[in-house]
Amino acid sequence: MSSIKAKNFDLISLMLVISLIFIGLINIYSVSYSDANSIENFFSKQLIFVIFSFSICLILILLDINFYFKYASIIYIILLLSLILVLIFGKEINGAKSWFNFIGFSLQPSEIMKPVTALAIAKYLSNIHSDIKNLKIQFYSFIIILAPISLILLQPDPGTALIFLSFYLVLHIVGLPSLYLNIFVSISILFISTIVIGMNMMLIIIGCVFSIMFLYMIYKKIKKNKLIYLSFFSVISVLISTLIFESIFEQRHRDRINVVLGIEKDLSGIGYNTNQSKLAFNSGGFFGQGFLKGTQTKGDFIPEQHSDYIFATIGEEWGFFGSLVVISLFIILLLRMSERTAKQTNLFYKIFSYSAIAIIFFHFTINISMVIGIFPTVGIPLPFISYGGSSLLSFMILFAGYLKIDSQKKSKW
């Protein structure tokens, strides 16, 4: 049962992931090429991370799957504790206390928390008594997700916290009532609209729309209870959105959102990253400037070019063609993984696999959108490609988990 059956092993997905890692290494090399010191730092370190992650994954794969099922809760709690400890003993980098510092290397527990939370939620919901339609079960599921989110927000690392929302997608797929999604989507729409057109205008529009609907319903003699709830909900959403945007968000967050929504155009200040990154894509054209020849890349204008903004380097040096290859690799990988997971009958397996897919998918979506300027600047890496040991390890564990589970699906367990 614990052995990997060669016949069921998803070799293609593994090849796709290895290609992505390889692409990542090439581009990290290119970014650090102009500076001898950073080659040593970024490229060779990443090479070490790759070897290290593969070794860890090999060990994890070889362990019996029952081990994970059994100790899921304990591992989850240990990691939660580590998230608390990092707030006390952690090293502050870029304004967030997210790092443990070991001899020479740093580790980000919030990254490891991703597969662990996947494990925990998979175990909790695969319990025969856990019916997702049950309000209490829903509540506890949310707690499992919200606990790490809150701790990560304290660091503060809103980017990583945002990724944990991918579990919501998993919950939805395995049967969470649509009401939650509807509420979530409506709030998002109301939030964005409020920022774009302002609170007063929004309240006027809501007032008008609901008044008309209200009058129509009186005329048609339809029950109005739901409408009243809905209008209350909308008004409160708008007010809370404004409150959050104006009081809870810091200026830099507001600025980033404003830049993406096109409210502000400050190409040298707040919008600098996005603008420089867009210029890199533009400079790439269709076939790109060529390996090691990217002018924006060589100019080193884009901050975090080796990590969060590495896709800009790909876009410049390999052009639209190169970007297309990378995106296709991701899409094929994600589709293949989700298609194989859909056939999975075991709920524990299914939830974990979906979590892995959702996390990778969220990372991919948010990172690429940010780099090409259609999403606010959020510091999260591009899976398998961006420089960074903790994140690579985290993605590799998620992927290894998928590989192991996938090879099990024909078994009766």
């Binding site: 102009s34 997608l169 939805h172 797929i173 395995v174 049967g175 190409l267 040298s268 600098y272 603008n275 420089q276 867009k278 210029l279 894509f281 533009n282 400079s283 790439g284 054209g285 269709f286 002018t295 924006q296 060589k298 100019g299 080193d300 204008f301 876009g315 052009g319 639209f320 970007s323 297309l324 995106i327 296709s328 991701f330 899409i331 994600l334 589709l335 989700s338 298609e339 859909a342 979906y354 897919i357 959702a358 998918f361 991919f364 979506t365 690429i368 959108s369 090409i372 259609i374």
Partner: protein, 619 residues
Amino acid sequence: MRDKLLQLLIISVGLLVIVKLFSLQVLNNSFSLINNNASVQKIYEFPERGYIYDRNKKLVVSNDFSYDLLVVPKDVNQADSIIISKDFNIDLKIFRKRFLEAKRFSNVKASILLSNISKHEYAPIQEKLWKHSGFFIQKKSKRTYNASTAANLLGYISEVNKFEIEKNSYYEIGEMIGRQGLEKTYENKLRGIKGVKFFQKDKFNRIIGSFKNGSFDTLPNASKDLTITIDLDLQQYGDSLMLNKRGSIVAIEPKSGEILALVNSPSYDLNSLVDKNRSLNYKKLESDSVGKPLFERGLQGQYSPGSTFKIINALIGLQENIINNKTLHKCEGGHFYAKNAFMRCHTKEATFSDLNNAIYTSCNTYFAKTYKGIIENYESSSVGLDKWNDYVKSFGFGNYLGYDHPNGKPGFIPTSKYYNRWYNNSWRAVTTISNSIGQGEILTTPVQLANFAATIANRGWYITPHFVKEIENDSINDDFKRKNTTLVEPQHFEPIIKGMVDVIDIGTATNSKINDIKIAGKTGTAENFVRIGGIRKQLTDHSIFIGFAPADDPKIAICVFIENGYWGSRWAAPISSLMIEKYIKKEINRKWLEKYILDGDLSSEYLKPYLTTNFTINE
């Protein structure tokens, strides 16, 4: 069902991202991105500014080069200072001091170590430049004026200001622009178009190569040399004649409208406006409210034309059939035009003047009666005056002439509307009788008067006066080739010209006669006033002369205007005749007259308004 949701999401995100990337990378290859691009540096290549030649191809304005030696301290091997200072011929102490200053300013940015190195000094430095890293040479160009003349005419160049940068996107901070005179009018031709090269920079501002393989680079477009209509010799001779006098000389070649000389006095040396003392010197010129050297009198000075204006009234009188050359008017030593209003005249009392006589004696009465006749020839004074106005304006008066110089004033020729407002609709010809002798409301500029002289010389037409003769590989404005015809028919000019010849032969300007050149001319003496502490005070009259020569085949038409020079024949006429002699014969035979003019000094006249005591005029 919900299993498919994830796949649907993955596909839609993939498509969305691909579409956005396609638009960003393939469709939107726009130039505008360069401008916001911190990583692209533009380096301009400026074509050398065009030269200016006079009509005889004498070089008037050219460029001079000097070189600066710049240093980037971080790249310099300081152990070599002794060799460096020797190679570059700098005193070791000075070198060390300046190097330290440069280093203090910036270790990585270039500072000037030696400035204004001449071509001569440059060669040995350039030979040794390769030996030392961290040094480079920057070429600088500045305008040089080979003749210290025609300052306001030529104009100068200086750095563009914020307003000009906003107005014209071509210019950037630190670039030069023609700011006055012909440098301004022909800025685009003289300037050429700068070329631009785009370079890729890294975040330390170092250039790491050309941007997009130079696909956006442009080559500079060469500037064009300008040949102007000015005769440099004549212009400079005019300068010498105008020494210690204020006023202007405008000389025009009648058949082409080419301005041969535009002398303004007092003037200044343009070479004082090129180097680092530029702004200080300019302030000095600007604040000289007495001499007003920046005021181009020939183009901007609006004065009463005085008796020179009688000619136009005679011409209109002939055209309108009010007078013919036989018409006699009795002169009573002046002209009563209203009760207790008497226009004095310097001709003898109770003589009869015909047109010829009236011109060369400049009889006020004759022209007053002629003018009155013109105005009263119509059903009302208004119609008559406007008809008269049309005639006068057809000679180029009362409006900008349209020459190629940014300075100018329209002058003023009154219309019936003007008098209606002023006199509340109750006025007659005699109310405006001053118009007959060029006093009163009429204002003309010297260039308009010179153009008037050219028009008479041409017997009824003129070409808009201009300063451009030729633009290298380009053509000049067609307006400067077209004839403008006056409303007075050609045959009416002959009797007038005969009278004007007699002005020199037997009339008011006999002192200005040249034996073998027949000059036609007319003197003028214009009353003028100044306000001192709110009190209107009359100053010595302006001395005016317009004329052309030779009368039968005119080569030069001229207007000389000497502020407060008194009689037209005292200064303006002799100066005109010297200018004519200089232009036609290239040398002056009448040395006595030349000496009289060169020694002439009106400085005391110009001090009068500033005296606290009373002064007498017209001595």
